[in-house]
Amino acid sequence: MAKQLRIIPERCTGCIQCELACSWVQTGTFQPARSLIRVHLFDDQASYAPYTCFQCDEAWCMTACPVNAITISPVAAKAVVPDCCVGCGLCVIACPYGTVWYSPDTHKAVKCDLCAGDPACVVACPTGAIEYVETPAADWLGPWAVDLNKSYAGIRAGAEP
């Protein structure tokens, strides 16, 4: 089993240091809009979940790419090879998790490549909400959000908790 990002949303405080670190790696500036990991807000800004590519086995981005510009890197990340990418955007459309982006600066696809084995977001997180460990690839966000929403459904409808 390869190491990848394990995210523990309960530890996230929403400070977006991970986004700042990710944008720093790519641009040398602070620009959360360019981050490949995004802290999503749930429950009217009371819960947070940093989310990025979890390097799924299906790898729809790779399947969709017409020029084979997405490869499996030495640390088992699905990584875009910029020199090969023609910027068609099919991988962005193909990704069911919304974790492949199109860069308006380079006109190429960008996605998390685990920083070649030393993820900047993991280092930056002050609460240990993002770990780089051996863990099975799984889409955790969907089930997590469903659970979260379930517990507030009654409250939102105006019922006693």
Binding site: Q17, T29, F30, Q45
Partner: protein, 614 residues
């Protein structure tokens, strides 16, 4: 351009509906660092200190700092600078959350608002797209609904909104500006100034970047700072575990928690409203502002058995029947000062104040003064509309809404406690300085705070010289809170340091974990300006003196450098600080001398020249 800045400011004339982009005055940005200092400099240049705060001629400034929007821990702050309606002084209220950083990402360092809009509007900023939009449909709405509506109607779900609630619209003199639902530029009525301009909100979405001058050095300095914060008790343990509420028991044990409008200084229900209780029974999660590695913010929840009474039923949704907070100051003002020991009532009152756009400190303290008036027979039931007894959670919750909407007795509360108590012939019940209510420390039990309050440029304020840090917490060194020795010196130093920190874009809470000299490398690497400790503290001193000069021009002179009679003459009746009064007279002359001012507190020509304020 100096690093950290975008180099562009927005000038919005609400009367004419014009929006101009101007270059940032980089000479001022260098001399005043940014934030509070830079705002003061701009206001000095173009704001007439003698105008009515609600006049279209009053300027309203939103100012970031050079570190706002960087990954410097706690680099989240923006400062609102204007002439305040509570005090008629220059006022500087700052807030965290994500708004300040978002403004930088949109490409602007500050916003100057002039004039008054012909009808309610809000300012929409999406990178280069800056426009005034109609806000007739938002007028009258609370903070939550306003933020949600703007996000929905703009189709930009990531927009960050700073808005006023009904309190700002109704010119409540202590109305706040709220961003990210629960983060407030709270004090001195900045929200009322925004309301007087018929500006409901400023919504920002920015996708640009913030650049620093020396990236490599900056990152090293920024990591060193985070490591320091992780190694300090207060910033690594106290604040993350208990939030600011950690102070309730600490201050109460020192007999310095003002209770029932400062009549006593020990609150018998302190434990019930303390950070320990909040954390054990109500805390859901910690919440951080932008780039903050401390995360003192609280998401709290009212337990099921109290939800029936304190659910925010009038709102479409609410956080697990709860909200953010309560913070220490709010828990004190609406709790101890009003005698209310019911934590759930405080959580709800806090939520209401945030949604209505009220400053929790001044609201709580004003209600406390009203309660003293009521209990001593100076106001009758016919006028108040309900019994205003100390300890009444019902009065607290009812009066929050009535104040924001200026209904019934709330119309008088909305004027603040100085005007309220004077109206009923008991000005001695006003607990504050220059029209602004005291925060949560009784300065009879903590001498230095008295000097800090009396000389604070925006009226009584704990953020301008937090000597509690030395006198109670022992940071950077422990001082006896009951003596006046050395307090003038430390007050001056703390005032200058806080002015400098407020100007960087960093949060003043950093100072619990690190000193100014440890923040310095970050600032130098970010800006590329070779600041030294001397230059930085001098920038703070410059800001302090400029604010003072501005107040002199506004007609708020040194005669208001004083404290209420209760604090100066009535000894604390009981508790650990029994018998104490504040001995301001022992500290004030020394303070003036250390400041280099005249014996009666006037800024001298020599001092002005020294600081480049001639």
């Amino acid at each position: 351009m100096i690093g950290g800045w975008t180099g562009t400011i927005l000038r919005v004339n609400l009367t004419r509906g014009t929006i101009k982009k101007e270059p940032l005055r980089s000479d001022w940005a260098r001399d005043y660092v940014g934030g509070r200092g830079l705002g003061a400099r701009y206001l000095w240049e173009e704001g007439d200190p003698t105008v009515d705060p609600f006049s279209p001629k009053n300027r309203l400034l939103f100012v970031t700092g050079p570190l706002t929007g960087t990954n410097a821990s706690c680099g989240a702050r923006y400062m609102v600078v204007t002439k305040g309606p509570l005090t008629s002084t220059i006022t500087t209220s700052n807030s965290g959350g994500h708004w300040g950083a978002e403004l930088k990402f949109a490409g602007y360092d500050m916003i100057i608002l002039e004039g008054r809009a012909p009808r309610p509007c809000y300012l929409w900023i999406h990178n280069d797209q800056v426009e005034l939009r109609d806000a007739e449909h938002l007028w009258g709405k609370g903070v939550w609904e306003t933020e949600e509506t703007i996000r929905e109607e703009s189709g930009v779900p990531d927009a960050i909104v700073a808005t006023i609630g009904p309190a700002g619209e109704n010119l409540v003199r202590f109305a706040a500006i709220l961003n990210d639902l629960h983060r407030a530029a709270g004090r001195s009525g900045v929200g009322a100034v925004m309301g007087s301009k018929l500006l409901k909100a400023i919504a920002v979405r920015g996708t640009g970047s913030v650049r620093v001058a020396d990236p490599r050095t900056f990152m090293a300095a920024s990591w060193a700072m985070k490591a320091r914060l992780k190694a300090s008790d207060v910033t690594a343990e106290g604040l993350p575990t208990y939030g600011t509420e950690v102070l309730v028991n600490v201050i109460n044990e020192h007999g310095a928690l003002p209770t029932r409008n400062h009549q006593v200084t020990v609150f018998e229900h302190a434990e019930e409203i303390s950070g320990e209780t909040l954390t054990e029974t109500r805390l859901v999660a910690n919440k951080a502002c932008f780039a903050c590695t401390i995360a003192c913010g609280r998401v709290s929840q009212i337990p099921a058995e109290a939800a029936g009474r304190y659910m925010v039923a009038t709102r479409p949704r609410n956080w697990r029947i709860a909200g953010e907070g309560v913070e220490y100051e709010s828990a004190w003002a609406m709790g101890a000062d009003c005698g209310v020991g019911d934590l759930d009532a405080l959580i709800k009152a806090n939520w209401l104040c945030n949604d209505l756009g009220l400053d929790t400190i001044s609201f709580g303290a004003t209600l406390a003064a009203a309660m003293e008036l009521y209990e001593k027979g100076a106001v009758a039931d016919e006028l108040t509309g309900m019994p205003l007894r100390f300890g009444s959670a019902e009065a607290l919750l009812t009066m929050a809404e009535r104040t924001a909407y200026r209904q019934g007795f709330g119309d008088l509360l909305a004027e603040g406690s100085q005007r309220l108590t004077a109206r009923f012939g008991h000005p001695e019940f006003f607990m504050g300085v220059r029209g602004q209510e005291f925060p949560a420390y009784d300065s009879r039990a903590i001498q230095g705070m008295g000097l800090g309050y009396a000389t604070s440029n925006r009226g009584a304020c704990h953020l301008k010289a937090y000597t509690v840090s030395a006198e109670i917490l022992g940071i950077p060194k422990k001082m006896d809170p009951h003596t006046t020795e050395g307090k003038a010196e430390i007050t001056k130093i703390f005032q200058d340091v806080a002015s400098a920190v407020d100007s960087t874009g960093l949060c003043v809470f950093l100072t619990f974990g690190v000193g100014l000299e440890e923040m310095l490398p970050q600032l130098v690497a970010a800006t590329g300006v070779p600041y030294t400790m001397d230059l930085l503290t001098q920038a703070g001193e410059r800001t302090w003196n400029l604010e003072r000069l501005w107040n002199e021009r506004a007609g708020v002179g040194k005669s208001s450098d004083t404290l209420p009679k209760r604090i100066l003459e009535e000894p604390i009746p009981s508790g650990p600080a029994k018998g104490q009064v504040n001995r301001l007279g022992e500290m004030l002359p020394e303070y003036y001398r250390l400041r280099g001012w005249t014996e009666d507190g006037t800024v001298t020509e020599a001092k002005r020249r020294e600081l480049g304020l001639a």
